[in-house]
Each structure stands twice: as C-alpha cells, then as structure tokens.
C-alpha cells in the first residue's frame, strides 16, 4: 500500500509556524520530519511518523505555492486563492524576509549579482546555514534592492510599502540596500567584530544626513546614493589639519575644555593631531568611490583602533568627540561650519557605535 496522493486543503489556509520555520531554514521534508520527531511532537500528540510525514509534506506544498506570492507581498493580500487572516499574512511575510545575522554579515556591502550568488555555496559551508536558505535570503535582498533602487521618496517607506515589512525589518533592508549600492567594505578582518546592527545604525545616520534625500526630497535615488556635491565639498575640511595654526588652535580649545574631565587626557592630548588628521582625511578622500568603500576600514584604523589601544572608555570617547566637533565653531577663520556639522554629526554617531570590543 503506497500513498499516491495525499492532500489537505482548508478554507482558511493552515499555517504551522514551526514547519514554516523549518521550510524557511531550507530543510528537506525528510530532515524536517526528523527534526520534528526530535522535538517530541509525537509524544505530545500521540501521532505516528507517517502522520507527521504527511503533515509536513502538506505544509511544504502550501508554502511552495505561497512562495510566488511572497515575492510580491501586496499580491498575497489581494489574491483570492488562499484565505489567510491578516495577522497570519503579516507573519508569513515577516518571517520570509527575515534573515540570519551570520548570512547578512557575509554579503553586506557586496554587489548583489550572479557572481556573489556563486559564493553562496561557500557562505553556506562557512555559516552552517543551508544553501536553500542562503539563496532565499540573497534573493530577498536582491529583490528588494531591484524594486526600491530607482524609487523616489524615503527608502524605508518604499520598502515598507512594497514589501509590507515591519518598521524594524524595513530599516534593516534599507541598510542592506544602502550598503549594497555603495559597496561599503565590511568583510575585512579588522571589521569582523562589528555586528550587522552596528552597520545598520551607521547606514541609517548616513541615509538621513549624507544622501541627496537629506537635502532634496524630489530627486531620484535620493536615499540610496550619497550626495556627490557634499562629498566634493568635504575636501574643504582639509584646512583643519593642513593649516598648522588652525590645528593647534583646535587642539588647545579641545584640551582646555576637557582638562580634568577625561581619564585618558594625556593620551588624548598626545594623539589629538593624529586622530584629527585621520578623521579629516577620511572626509577629504570620500570623493573617490574606492575610498567611500573603505570608509569603515578607515574609521576603524584611524580612530577606533588607536583609541582602543590606549584603553579609552566609551564615555571619554563621547566627551572627546562632542568637544572635538563643537569646538570647531569657535575657530575663527574656518568658514565651513555647516559642512562640518553635516559630516561630523553623522560620523560622531557612527564612531560611538563602532567603538566597542
């Protein structure tokens, strides 16, 4: 006796969250059945392995049919074939677009192209995430990227509108799209200590302040591309380190203000010029695409690592950066106050986030 056909169709589509997770994680039916058996479900329900097999097959088939709709979530809402309560629809979408931290760290900032897709094999081996799941996550990134890349308006809003994701997940996707578009390097060894959350935080700040959308909401690609004019202007900041008098003045203002307030005051005083040179040079270089890509490498090399080697506490870093940014206003003869604020305001936020072990 062999089962030729075995189906169950409900007027309301049954969604088993556990099986959905197994499916999303890319397990085959037999692996999923084995995992469910291990979870002790047979003992709880008194079911047999055959029942579990049939149930799992059924859910997998349903998910497979739903997958086409999940690629364009608004379709899931308007389709008539599967009657699914709204809360369940939201769950299906949110889970489908959720991603693994380990996976996203591997592809963040990489070009979402076929070439990268070939690397998925390696990523799968490295992270222990099934290839199927890697593919889904990668395809999700790519799909979202393609849809919102050329769109006007807020990146997060666009993602939310076209993929019906939660606010948090939309922000994450905005970061992914932003990183992919600007190809920020995140894979270097010295960046390994950073989490996706760190990068997403920086991405959000940069989108808010450094993109075209930050100044003009009527242009294409406003949130995805950095404001070229702004990057061009940044080289004007060079005067802060190139002009020796200005650099000395800046240092003395900062040191006066912070004396007695920092536990690492002497180290700060000794390193001030190096640090300032580092931060300003990063700004001046951003005109080149290659240097934009290396932004995070540079920030870590030029600021985070020196401070860390001197064991600056985070509170001191904050005090220093605040004072460092603010005291520029008291420098007579420096005319690019607004530009400096736009640059340093974001950079300060990023650096504070990046500064950890």
């Amino acid at each position: 006796m062999t089962s030729e056909l075995d189906i169950f169709v409900g007027n309301t589509t049954l969604i088993d969250e556990d099986v959905y997770r197994l499916w999303l994680d890319g397990y085959s039916v037999s692996d999923a059945v084995a995992l469910r058996v291990r979870s002790g479900i047979l003992e709880q329900t008194g079911a047999t392995a055959a029942v579990l097999q049939s149930d799992t097959m059924d859910h997998y088939r349903t998910f497979h049919m739903l997958e086409r709709l999940l690629h364009a979530p608004p379709k899931l809402l308007h389709q008539l074939i599967f009657q699914i309560p709204p809360s369940r629809q939201a769950l299906l979408i949110e889970r489908y677009y959720a991603f693994d931290e380990a996976f996203v760290r591997e592809v963040l900032g990489k070009k979402l192209s076929k070439g990268t897709k070939k690397d998925l094999d390696d990523i799968s081996t490295k992270t222990g995430i099934t290839l199927k799941s890697c593919r889904r996550q990668f395809d999700n990134f790519k799909r979202v990227f393609k849809v919102v890349e050329e769109m006007r308006g807020s990146l997060v809003d666009n993602i939310q509108q076209h993929f019906l994701l939660s606010d948090r997940l939309s922000r994450d996707y905005a970061a992914i799209v932003f990183f992919a578009n600007n190809r920020f390097e995140t894979g270097k060894k010295k960046l390994q200590y950073l989490s996706f959350g760190d990068f997403a935080f920086c991405a959000e700040l940069m989108i808010q302040n450094w993109t075209l959308g930050a100044v003009d909401s009527q242009v294409d690609d406003m949130d995805v591309d950095l404001d070229k004019e702004f990057l061009q202007d940044l080289k004007e900041l060079k005067v802060l380190v190139a002009d020796k008098d200005l650099l000395d003045l800046h240092k003395s203002v900062v040191c006066t203000a912070l004396r007695g307030k920092l536990s690492v005051f002497s180290e700060m005083e000794a390193n001030f010029k190096n640090l300032s040179r580092g931060l300003v040079n990063v700004a001046a270089k951003l005109i080149h695409n290659k240097d934009v890509r290396d932004l995070f490498v540079d920030l870590v090399e030029k600021f985070v690592e020196p401070c860390r080697s001197d064991h600056w506490p985070l509170s001191d870093v904050r005090l220093f950066l605040n004072q460092y940014s603010a005291s520029v206003h008291s420098l007579d003869g420096f005319r690019h106050q607004a530009l400096w604020d736009r640059y340093m305001g974001t950079l300060r936020g990023c650096l504070l986030r990046l500064y950890h072990d």
Binding site: M1, T2, S3, E4, L5, D6, I7, F8, V9, G10, N11, T12, T13, L14, T45, G46, A47, T48, A50, V51, L52, S54, D55, M57, D58, R61, T62, H64, M65, K75, H78, Q79, L80, I81, F82, Q83, P85
Partner: protein, 1033 residues
C-alpha cells in the same frame, strides 16, 4: 421578453504576462449570454487593465435567464495571430431572479482556465431587470427559491411541506464526441463545463416548474448530481423537497433558536400543536397486517430490450424500531391514515400536469418540531444496471460560439422507451416506498440517491428513514384533520420519535422491544438506525461519536452481464456485513442509536467497496445496549478458550472505556420492572445475521449464554477472528477531539465561532499481487484510520474541537487505486461551558416555547391572506395569542445591526453545516452550484498529483468564495463537494480532475454584533446568546 440582463466590465488585476517581449498583456473581454456577444476595448500593455466598459445589455427570456450562465472570456489581443484566451468566468445569474435574494452581483472573480488554473481576477457588475410575466403556461420558474440546506432555512418558516420533487436531464458527454478528437483539451473542457452549467440551469428550472405546480415557492434539500456515464452520456439529476416558505421578515419575526446552534438550531415555531380539537372517538382501525420478508430478496428482474439485457437486483434492507403500545396503536393508525391521505390528496390534486405525487419522500434531515412523529428505521434499495448508449437522436453540433447543441429531456423524448434512467429511479423509489410501508410508515425522510459507475455497470442506490409524519404540515391548508390534543400527551418530548410505528404483533422483522425508558408507555426497539439528524428534542445521554463500517470485496473482472450478475450477487453480503460491523461497533461504544447513516457502495474493476458512516449516540428512551459476548466453536481446546476469554476481556474493557470517554452514564433502571413480554425476545442483529446469510450458516443460538441482551459474536473461522480484531483496532480520537457526521454533536452545545472547513483527499495504490479480501480490508481500514489521524493532528491547534458533518466518499478510479475524499468542518467549543446543566436547557426550552407562541400569531394570519381556501383555525387559537409574550415590535426595528459590509471584509466562511456557530443568518442569497474541470499536461512541473490537486481544490474554494462575496454574502452553508473525479496518467505527465460543489450563499451577522444592537429586552425573554433580530440589509 421578460428580462434585461446588464453587465459591466470594470477592471482586471494580476493578469498573466501574455507578451514575452514586453512582459505585458493587451487584454480585452468578451461577454456572452445565449447567442449574443459583446466586447470591450483592448486595454493595451497592462497587467491591471481598467476597461470601465459601458453597460452591455442582453434582452432575454426568463427561461434563458434560468438556463444559461453568463460567460465572460478574457483574451489577449494579438494583431498578427489569433487572440489568446487568458481564461473565463462563468456567472450563474439565478440568484438575481428571486426577489429576496441578491440584487446585484459585483466583485472580483478569479479568471479561470482549465489548463492553467486561476490567472488573475476580473471585476464585473451584473444586474437583471425582470418584468413580471403572468403567462400561465410559461416555461420558466423564476422566483422559486432553492436551498441545499436539508432543514427549513433559518430565516424562513415552513407553511406547508409539499414533498418530493425530482428531475433528470440527459445529454451526450462532449468529452466523448467525435469532435473531441480534433479539438484541444481546453476546448473540450470548456464545452463540458458549459454544457453542465446549462444542464443544471435547465434542471433547476424544470424542478421549479414542478414546485409551482404544487403551489410551493421553494425547494429545500436540493441535491443535484452528475453521472458521468462515459460513452453512454451524461446525466444530471436532482431531488429535493418542495415547500411553501414564509420569510420571517416582519418585525415580530424573531427566531431565538437559530442563534444557538448548539441545541435548538433547527427550530421552527411549531413547537406545540395549537389545535385544540379533541379526539372524540378516533376510528380505531385495526392495522392491516403487513407482511414483509426481511431477508434480501434476490429478485432478478430480467428485462430485455432489443439490444441489451439489463440485470437488476435490489437487496432490500429495512431496519426498524419503534413501538405501538396498546393505546398508541389505534391512534397511530389514525395518524398514519391522515398522513397518507394528506400525501395522497396532493397526488390527486387538481393540477393537471402533476402526476408524480406517488413518492412521499423528503430530502430533509431535520424538521420543524412536531413534524416527525415516529421513526421506523432505515430503508434502502440498490439496483445494478448496465448502461447502454443513451439514445439521443438530437443533432449534436460542434460546440461553437452559439448554442448549437440541443438539450433533451430524457423523460419527454424517450417516453415510449422503457429503459430510461427515469424508469430505473422510479423502480428504486417504488422499492423504498414499499419498504417504508412494511415498517408501518407512510413517508421516508432523510432521503437521498446516489450512483456508482464503473465502465458500463452502474449501481443505483437510494436510502432514507421510514417515518410517520404529522399531517398538519403536509396539507394544502384545506383540511386541518382531526389531530387532537392527545397528540401531545401521547408524544412526550424527547422520545416520541423512538416509539415504533408498526404493530407489535406483526412486526416486519423480529425485534427486541421494550417499553420506552423515558415515558414507559410505549414500545421502543433496542437499536435505532436512521439517516436523519438527531431531532433537537431528543434526550441523549453523553456524547456521540463517528462510527464507520468499512468493507472490501474482491470480484472477478468481467464484462457486461456477467459483471452485473457478479456484483448483484455480492451486494447482499456486503450490505449484511456492513450492518453487522455497524452494530458491533455501536455496541462497542456502548450506544444504542445511529443517526445520519450513509452507506456507500462503490464499484470498481475488480472490487466492491462499502463504507458506512453514522453518528452513534445513546438515546435515553432506548434500552441500555448489552455487551458483546464471544463464543468459541471448539470449547475443548483450553488454549483456545484462554484466547477467547482474553479477547472477551479486551472487548469488555473497550466498552467500559468508551462509556467513560463518551460520558454515557444512564440512570440505572431495574430491568424487571419494565421488562416486556415480547413473544420473541431474541436479538435483532443476531437474527439479521442468520437471516441474511444463506442457509448454510444457520446457527442455533445459545441464549443461555450470559445476559439476555448480550450480543454474541461467534468466532468460528479466521474471518470472524479478523472481524473481532478489526473492531478493536479502531482507535478513539485523541483527547479534546470529537467527531460526528451529523450537523451537531450531541452533548456539546457551546460552540465558539472558530470554524475550519476542509477537504482532504487520499489515493493509495494497492500492491497488485495476491490481494485477498483480508488484506484489502486492512488496507482500506488503515487508509481511513490514517486519514482521520492526520486530520486530528492537523487540527490540533483547535482543541477542544469537534469534527462535524464528516463526509467520506470512496471511489475506485483505477484497478489498484482507492481514493477517499473527506470534507468536514472543525469547530472549536468552549470547554469551560461544556457542562451546562439540564436546568438551563429547561429554561431555554421554556423561553423557546414562549417565543414560539408568539410566532404562531402570524401563522393563521398569513395563511388567511393566502389565495388558498382559508384555513379554518379554531377560535381557541386566541388563547395562544393571549399567551404571547409582550414583545414590542419597536424593539426589533431598533436593533437592526450593521450588515456584513463593515464586518469581516473579504472573509468568506464555508461550512457543510446549515448554520454558523455564534452567528445569525439574516439572508439567503441563492444557491451556489459550480462545476470545474482542471487538466494538466505538465504534472511533474506542478508538483505531481498532490500538487496538482491541492492547487485545484484551493482554486475551487477561491472561486466559490469569490462568487459568494460578489453576491454580497459572507458565508456558504450546507456546502458539499458532490464529486471529485481524479484521473492521472503519470507516464504522459498528464492529469485531469472534475469537481462539483454546491451550497447556499448567505449573509450572517455575528451574535456579538447583534448583542450590541439589542440592549433593551435581551434580559426579559432571551438569554444573551439567543438574541437576534431580523436585520434589514
């Protein structure tokens, strides 16, 4: 020229890409009705076209309106080659033809293609302007309402229940026409879909005409079926119960009962008989002795026609129960006479064209209180027929754009030909009627018909429950009869229907009678089998459960007559074994009655399958069932005896366990007090066995063995051993689950609104080698049990829950394939309220009585306003009027709740039940009857057979929901999947499936919404759950 159909095509969405180059589609729409076609403009390059067309107007006869579907075809415009069809939508406009149903059909319909499935959606608006036509000889029957529901629909009241209506229509199957060899599968499928749609329309119209002749205005329990007879044609047949219904739309119309489906959902306001006539001296006519041989009579009626020989065999099965006590006897006879006269009277009614009144059958399974007086037992008849080509001389043209094929009414055309499908059914019905008579009954309720076809052999089956009915509902309002007040005295609530309708001294079959355990006045049988739902006033102890008997029998492959003979010979044995199994399982459950019994016999190439499903309950009125006693044949073998006693212990344990599980704790009664001096105190079932089996196995019973009413199972061979084993292999559902095949589960009355309707299909392939009956039985049994287990597992999140209306269908699509299709609804109930005391029940029924009285107010008034001769209601009626509770009309007007529009947007519930828990049905929008074909030539790519069928069933659900939503409804009740024919050819990577579904589209309003609206008098007369007002939408 009585109708104008208006159609507007608004827009499309999610269309498929038809032009690969642009990834877009240039779509336009053809709207066709009858011979007229309109087209919209081409909407260039869009997957979401906005046609916003003008109103297309069709001026048509109402006859066409009833027969024809509106056909909407979406196409992709192609400048250089033929336009490609994207898909079609068929819209049945019948619901627009009743005044009370839907007024407009408007909404998104899935665009369906028989090869690709659903391809996007189209937004359509349809309206009908109907002109009144007073032509008496008209052919249409617009205005007759159809209901699939097998009880009086919720917002109606039955004024008269007229009786049986049936019709069948025959045509050639387009799939088997010569043209099919050259046309595409798509064209062939579409021709079939359209033809069936047309035939069902015609059938419905003809039934409607019969109803009008009977002066009815509705058909309840309408069941339409297709017989795909292959080469020999396509039969569409329907049965139903003609009624005169009154809409409870007046302000005072207040149905407290229909809101709490838990108990009195099928309540219709005739709870007590208002007729105060006293029975003076009823002519105590002695009952005629009705002789009836119970053994299956192998009556071959060998009929020969010019070309073919037909074999017909009808094993009769009459199972009965009930009792006429000494006083009850004459009274009952009187009642029966009245009923008969009522039925016959209609037969002789002065309608010229009406000559079908000979069958007092009712397709209803639930009745207004007081309607059902006694129940005799199940009656069934089967007949094996050979199909020959339906002689259809009408020109069957190419299915083109016009309606070039003519439909033939088999009845009229082949009037001189005796071998008609109609004659076959008439024969079977006659058989049923005589069975009912033998049980002392004049009517058959819960009546249904079915067929099973394999190649050229067809088994026709009919079954129902013999019953004695209260004539008051059956009369045309001319005679009130002399029903007396004593009726109520004689029919104590909750047990009256159990009392035997036949004469104790002339029982149609030997039965073990006792005095009713409820009223102690009249006789009841030890076991009662019926095809109807549990009457709402029946007193049940504990809960019920689904009981199934499953059986397979191998048969040799044979041709034509030899095959039919072989089947005919097997049938009585199958019937007998199915009954034995049912009886054994019922005893094992510690119960004494079966409701909703449905026995399906399916014929295949090399086997016969029998599947009986029913809901077992413990009726308080019937005696406690005895246990099952096992007796061995070789008493000297000690190890054997040990084995026997071991088995016995197991059985006893199971019975005890089941009693606990189903909470069966009947009050202990001393047997001696009510013990009856019945001439032959033998076990009915036992006798059934010895009778039904042929003479070689007449075993003398050792009655001294154990308790008198213990049921003895003799283990005389391995077969019997198998039987006992299989009894014990049925595992009860996991805790928190109950199941039944009736509308509601006895003993559970606190349903929540969480329901889940589902269809599950399984096909297994038998290993072809060395198939034995035992192996086959085991396979089949495992198939059903595993299927149930899977359902329990899948629905575990709904616990505590009950599977209601579990409907199994078996088919044998190929040699080694068994297909089982299950449709049911899972309903969650509230465990905490599960233990409602009897006190609340009493309160409820009191409340019900008071409101019922109130409703009776309307009854005479409405009857008087009827064109019929006035109903001479006795003046004492006024008493009832005065008793009516002072419920202000205004109250009801004030509490109209918002219609469904703002609640639950888009969600359409589907259920095989006639009600929706926790909600009140406020409007019936019309019948849904849809037929779909799906075919694929890329089976593997669509996920194999499972993927293909899964997608198709999901699509069918979607199309049903879309149609209901477009009618303005939010639910389908009495939903049924009547056919699911699946054929595959994996080698060719092909599969085809036909599905036929039906149901009633309704509007419901949540009780919680109603409660908000009703503030004032909920406390006064009704308990909170019972509140409900008529909602004007």
């Amino acid at each position: 020229m009585p109708g104008k159909l208006k159609v507007k095509i608004v827009a499309g969405r999610h269309l498929p890409v038809m032009d690969r180059a642009s990834d877009l589609t240039d779509a336009f729409v053809e709207v066709k009705f009858g011979n007229t076609t309109f087209k919209t403009d081409v909407y260039l390059k869009s997957l979401n076209p906005q046609w916003n067309s003008e109103w297309f107007k069709f001026e048509v006869d109402d006859e066409d309106l009833q027969d024809e579907p509106l056909q909407i075809t979406v196409l992709d415009h192609d400048t250089y080659s033929a336009n490609d069809a994207i898909g079609k939508v068929y819209i049945d406009i019948d619901p627009l033809l009743y005044s009370e149903a839907a007024t407009v059909i408007s909404g998104w319909f899935p665009i369906y293609d028989t090869i690709h499935g659903i391809r996007g959606e189209i937004n359509v608006i349809v309206k009908v302007d109907l002109f009144n036509d007073l032509n008496r000889f008209r052919q249409s029957s617009c205005g007759v309402k159809f209901f699939c529901t097998t009880s009086i629909p919720k917002c109606y009241r039955a004024v008269i229940i007229h009786g049986f209506v049936e019709e069948l229509v025959v045509n050639e199957d387009p799939e088997y026409q010569w043209i099919d060899r050259i046309r595409t599968p798509r064209a062939s499928n579409e021709a079939r879909q359209r033809l069936i749609s047309l035939m069902s329309g015609e059938l419905q119209r003809k039934i409607g005409l019969k109803v009008l002749e009977m002066r009815g205005n509705a058909v309840v329990g309408y069941l339409q079926c297709f017989d795909l007879e292959g080469e020999s044609g396509l039969v569409v047949r329907a049965i139903g119960t003609a009624c005169t219904l009154d809409k409870l739309s007046s302000p005072a119309a207040f149905l407290p009962a229909c809101n709490s489906p838990c108990k009195e959902m099928k309540e219709i306001p005739f709870n007590e008989d208002p007729n105060p006539n006293t029975h003076s001296s009823g002519p105590s006519t002695p009952l005629k002795n009705q002789t009836y041989s119970f053994s299956p009579s192998k009556s071959y009626s060998r009929q020969s026609s010019s070309s073919d020989t037909d074999l017909s065999l009808t094993p009769k099965t009459g199972m009965g129960s009930g009792s006429a006590g000494k006083e009850g006897g004459p009274f009952k006879a009187l009642l029966r006479q009245q009923t008969q006269s009522a039925l016959e009277q209609r037969g002789g009614s002065p309608h010229r064209f009406c000559k079908r009144r000979e069958f007092p059958f009712f397709t209803l399974t639930a009745f207004p209180p007081g309607f059902l007086v006694h129940v005799g037992g199940v009656v069934s008849a089967r007949s094996v027929k050979l199909l020959d080509r339906i002689h259809n001389p009408a020109f069957v043209g190419i299915m083109g754009n016009t309606r070039s094929y003519k439909l033939l009414d088999w009845n009229s055309f082949n009037a001189d030909e005796p071998e008609t499908r109609d004659a076959w059914w008439a024969e079977i019905r006659q058989e049923i009627k005589s069975h009912a008579k033998a049980l002392g009954c004049h009517a058959v309720v819960g009546y249904s018909e079915s067929t099973s076809i394999c190649e050229e052999v067809c088994i026709l089956s009919a079954s129902g429950t013999a019953a004695v009915l209260n004539p008051r509902f059956l009369q045309d309002g001319t005679v009130e009869g002399c029903l007396e007040q004593r009726l109520e005295e004689n029919l104590p609530v909750g047990c009256g229907f159990c009392h035997i309708p036949y004469d104790e001294l002339n029982m149609p079959f030997p039965a073990h009678l006792t005095y009713c355990y409820n009223c102690r006045k009249q006789k009841v049988p030890d076991v009662l089998f019926t095809t109807i739902d549990l009457p709402t006033d029946a007193t049940v102890i504990g809960k019920g459960c689904l009981i199934q008997a499953r059986l397979c029998r191998l048969k040799k492959k044979a041709q034509a007559e030899a095959n039919a003979t072989a089947i005919s010979n097997l049938l009585p044995f199958m019937e007998y074994e199915v009954h034995t199994q049912l009886m054994n399982k019922l005893k094992l459950k510690g119960m004494n009655a079966l409701f909703g019994l449905r026995i399906q016999i399916t014929v295949g190439e090399n086997m016969l399958m029998g599947l009986a499903s029913a809901t077992g309950v413990y009726l308080a009125a019937l005696p406690t069932p005895g246990g099952i006693q096992i007796a061995g044949k070789t008493p000297n073998d000690s190890s054997y005896e040990q084995h026997i006693s071991h088995m016995q212990k197991k059985i006893n344990d199971t019975i005890a366990k089941n009693k606990e599980l189903y909470e069966i704790n009947p009050p202990e009664t001393s047997e001696e007090v009510i013990g009856s001096p019945i001439p032959e105190p033998r076990q009915r079932s036992r006798l059934l066995r010895s009778q039904s089996e042929s003479s070689d196995e007449v075993i003398e019973l050792d009655l001294s063995h154990g308790k008198k009413d213990a049921f003895v199972l003799e283990i005389d061979d391995t077969d019997a051993m198998e039987d006992v084993h299989s009894l014990l292999t049925d595992v009860p559902p996991p805790s928190g689950f109950y199941s039944c095949n009736t509308e509601i589960m006895p003993g559970i009355n606190n349903w929540t609104s969480e329901i889940q309707m589902f269809t599950s299909v399984r096909v297994i392939r038998l290993s072809s080698l060395n198939l034995t009956n035992q192996a086959l039985n085991k396979n089949f049994n495992d198939l059903c049990e595993n299927l149930l287990k899977s359902l329990y597992f899948k629905l575990r999140s709904m616990i505590p829950c009950c599977l209601c209306h579990v409907n199994f269908t078996v088919s044998l699509p190929e040699d080694e394939l068994i297909q089982v299709t299950v449709t049911a609804v899972a309903i969650t109930f509230d465990k905490n309220q599960a233990l409602q005391t009897t006190k609340t029940h009493i309160e409820k029924s009191l409340q019900r009585a008071s409101t019922d009285n109130e409703e009776l107010l309307q009854f005479p008034l409405e009857l008087c306003s009827d064109s019929l001769p006035s109903h001479p209601f006795p003046p004492a009626k006024a008493v009832t009027v005065e008793k009516a509770s002072p419920m202000g009309e205004g109250n009801f007007r004030n509490r109209s709740a918002p219609p469904c529009a703002n609640s639950t947007v888009g969600v359409v519930k589907m259920t095989p039940l006639s009600f929706i828990p926790g909600a009140k049905i406020t409007k019936y929008l019309g019948i849904i009857n849809m037929f779909f074909i799906r075919e694929t030539t890329s089976l593997r790519e669509e996920g194999g057979v499972s993927g293909f069928l899964h997608a198709f069933i999901a699509e069918v659900f979607a199309m049903v929901r879309a149609h209901v939503a477009a009618l303005g409804g939010n639910a389908v009740v009495s939903y049924i999947m009547k056919q699911c024919v699946f054929m595959e050819n994996p080698n060719k990577n092909q599969a085809q499936c036909l599905i036929n579904v039906s149901g009633d589209a309704v509007v419901f309003v949540r009780e919680s919404d109603l409660e908000v609206a009703s503030t004032q008098q909920a406390a006064a007369t009704c308990q909170p759950l019972c509140t409900g007002g008529e909602v004007t939408t």
